[in-house]
């Protein structure tokens, strides 16, 4: 789950990280009011959960309340990469001397948190990493010890931060660490961390991504969730304990198990089709779950055929088949359905499904081929 810039920065501020004065506004009038409060010179920043909003015109500088209102109105009517802008952050204008990148994330291969900093801040850090990797300083933190001062010293020395800023940087580092730790973030990022003309350090932009698996203990943060930024079908799938990801093809896929679901998509592609989605129905296949999954797949009008691939292991194949039949009756799809059922009691299952006017297959290859053909014929 991603937090908006203003949510991220407010979170950081709670942990003592200094941020520019500013507030979020949902209307142009509010933006004007905030700009007037802040003395006129402000930045109007669209709050959308995608990157590249600056290039898309979603960040503008205003010199007074009039300009702020005008620009806020423009931005609030935009759509950036398909997402409507519903809020803008109105921040005081900052006199920027230097821009630093500073983030904390989980290093998968080191299996520990890593602090990342670069004196070349303000731009896409992945680009810096690709072109001038020596400008990126990484310091790992032991997960049982937590952040220590010496970790911060290594980072500050690495980016050659002037000594005069070490103390402020240390406080920001500890604040960012606590924010990362206590909100179960997978990314807590300040970019840029600005050194202002008068020598202050300020987190001018912020980004937080939370670990979806830890949301059960982050109720306060879950309330900040912006459902606008998420696919409706994915939200719907989540409710039923399904994992659904919309793709661009025409063959709907319903599979038990994430790895098998990916492999099924790959097979569709291999035989000349395009998968319309990733969908993992997980272990077992209750009627309710299968029906919900079918509804979600068929809501996508591009879908020309549905491919079921179920490895009946723990769950018996005949029971899976019955679940599917019941779901079909409820949803009543008008596209061809191909099913491949293997494992325990698969034979019985296949018989039940053949009677129900489904195309059956023995192997995954056969199933994928039949689904691609069926989609072409539909």
């Amino acid at each position: 789950m991603k937090l908006h810039e203003y949510q991220s920065k407010n979170l950081f501020a709670q942990y003592g990280v200094p941020i520019p004065k500013g507030r979020v506004a949902a209307t142009a009038a509010e933006a004007r009011e905030i700009a007037d409060e802040l003395g006129g010179r402000v930045v109007i920043k669209s709050q959308v959960l995608v990157g590249g909003r600056g290039k898309a015109g979603g960040v503008k500088l205003a010199n007074n309340g009039d300009e702020a209102e005008q620009l806020a109105r423009e931005i609030l009517s935009m759509e950036i990469k398909g997402l409507p802008v519903r809020k803008v952050l109105v921040d005081q204008g900052i006199d920027i001397e230097t821009e630093i990148y500073f983030g904390i994330t989980n290093d998968r291969s080191a299996r520990r948190p890593v602090l990342i900093a670069s004196a070349a801040g303000g731009v896409d850090i992945e680009e810096v990493a690709a072109t001038t990797p020596e400008k990126i300083i990484r310091v790992h933190v032991d997960p049982l010890l937590g952040l220590r001062d010496y970790n911060v010293n290594d980072l500050a020395a690495g980016i050659e931060l002037p000594r005069i800023h070490w103390k402020a940087f240390g406080q920001i580092a500890h604040g960012l660490w606590k924010a990362y730790l206590e909100s179960d973030a997978t990314l807590a990022e300040i970019n840029p961390l600005v050194i202002t003309g008068d020598g202050q350090l300020l987190a001018v932009d912020g980004k937080v991504v939370l670990d979806d698996n830890a949301l059960f203990r982050q109720q306060n943060l879950v309330e900040m969730r912006d459902l606008d930024a998420e696919d409706n079908s994915e939200i719907e799938a989540n409710k039923f304990g399904l994992t659904y990801i919309r793709l661009d093809g025409e063959i709907g896929c319903m599979v038990n198990g994430a790895g098998l679901a990916m492999a099924t998509m790959d097979m569709v592609k291999l035989y000349g089709g395009e998968p319309a989605n990733f969908l993992d129905i997980g272990g077992g296949a209750s009627e309710e779950k299968v029906a919900a999954a079918l509804r979600i797949i068929l809501k996508d009008k591009r879908v020309k055929a549905v491919l079921f691939n179920v490895f009946g292991g723990i769950t018996r194949g005949d029971e899976v088949a019955k679940g599917i039949l019941a779901a079909l009756k409820e949803v009543n799809p008008d596209v061809p359905m191909v099913i491949r059922l293997v494992g325990t009691n698969a034979e019985e299952g296949r018989k039940l499904l053949a009677e129900a006017d489904m195309i059956t297959a023995e192997t995954l290859s056969e199933a994928a081929q039949k689904a691609v053909e069926a989609a072409k014929g539909a």
Binding site: N106, R108, S109, R111, R112, P113, E126, D142, P143, L144, L181, D184, T186, D211, N213, A214, F216, R217, T243, I245, L247, V255, N256, G257, A258, G259, L260, A261, M262, A263, M265, D266, M267, V268, K269, L270, E274, P275, F278, D280, G283, F311, G313, I314, V342, G343, T344, T363, L364, S365
Partner: protein, 288 residues
């Protein structure tokens, strides 16, 4: 021969009184696995599964009483980190954790602690480990694999069943099948298992089932090139997965251009690994 588990393995099931725990413990016993104990704090002294398995208040007590040497963790995600720490503290040398959805920061702490204790963890978010004909720990169906000389290691569940089943259908059996799990931070990686298979006299060929996300397959390829003389066959799932999306498994995500199926396949092929176009093809490749 086999790796990790065999007919002498004595299993304690953490979470045996749960719906999942009791169901699968029963299957494991039917398979012939020695399930010697269950753990559920506050229920010590009870017996479950028709009086076949005693329940203890802690892993420590279970181990002292029954000599259990492997723990299967099947407790909900919010309790799983402590369950693994408990097993490690109790001196259990092998922990197999099936639990899905464990927070990443918890897993980093757990893994760090287990490493310091020298404890091997398989998983989390894995289907378990099976040595066909001897011992089955977890949820891999008992009837889809036969004993044999092919070692199987995989990040996936049902995709692994698919491969085992395809092997069985052409009469090829497995020495041991290890599900290492689909989480970004896990206990045992490909290289750990490849090394065990390379050293296991009962394993002649190895199947590696990978997927998008991370660089473990690339590292495995390097290891294979440098250290293995047994033939390795592979399948990588997720060629069609879009970047930036977690494909069900928390670890299955292409991020910042890294972790694509293409990169992994190239690396494996460069290491002399035969990479199948689809999972069923693995069986054909091995049959030769």
């Amino acid at each position: 021969m086999s790796i990790l588990i065999n007919k002498d393995t004595k299993v304690v099931v953490q979470g045996i009184t749960g719906r999942q725990g009791s169901f699968h413990a029963e299957r494991m016993i039917e398979y012939g696995t020695q399930v010697v104990a269950g753990v559920r704090p506050g229920k010590g002294g009870e017996w479950v599964l028709d009086g076949k398995v005693p329940v203890f208040d802690s892993v420590k007590i279970a181990k002292e009483t029954t000599g259990a040497n492997t723990s299967l963790v099947m407790v909900p995600a919010r309790f799983a980190p402590d369950a693994m720490l408990e097993a490690a503290d109790a001196g259990i040398p092998l922990i197999i954790c099936l639990t899905e959805h464990i927070p990443v920061q918890d897993m980093m702490r757990v893994r760090s602690y287990l490493d310091q204790k020298g404890v091997r963890l398989v998983g989390p978010n894995c289907p378990g480990v099976q040595t066909p004909g001897e011992c089955n720990i977890g949820i891999i169906p008992g009837d889809i694999a036969i004993p044999g000389n092919v070692g199987v290691v995989s990040r996936s569940g049902t995709l692994t069943y698919e491969v085992l089943y395809a092997l069985k259908n052409v009469g090829i059996g497995a020495s041991t099948c290890v599900g290492i799990g689909g989480d970004p931070i896990n206990g045992t990686n490909f290289i750990d298992v490849l090394q065990m298979f390379q050293d296991d006299p009962g394993t002649d060929k190895v199947v590696l089932i990978g997927e998008i996300g991370g660089t473990d397959e690339e590292k495995a390829a390097q290891y294979i090139a440098d250290n293995m003389n047994k033939p390795v066959f592979a399948f990588i799932a997720g060629k069609t997965a879009p970047p930036g999306k977690r494909m069900g498994h928390a670890g299955a995500i292409v991020e910042g251009g890294a972790g694509t199926a293409e990169d992994k396949i190239k690396a494996l092929q460069a290491a002399g690994v035969q990479v199948a176009d689809h999972p069923e093809q693995i069986a054909e490749l091995i049959k030769g």
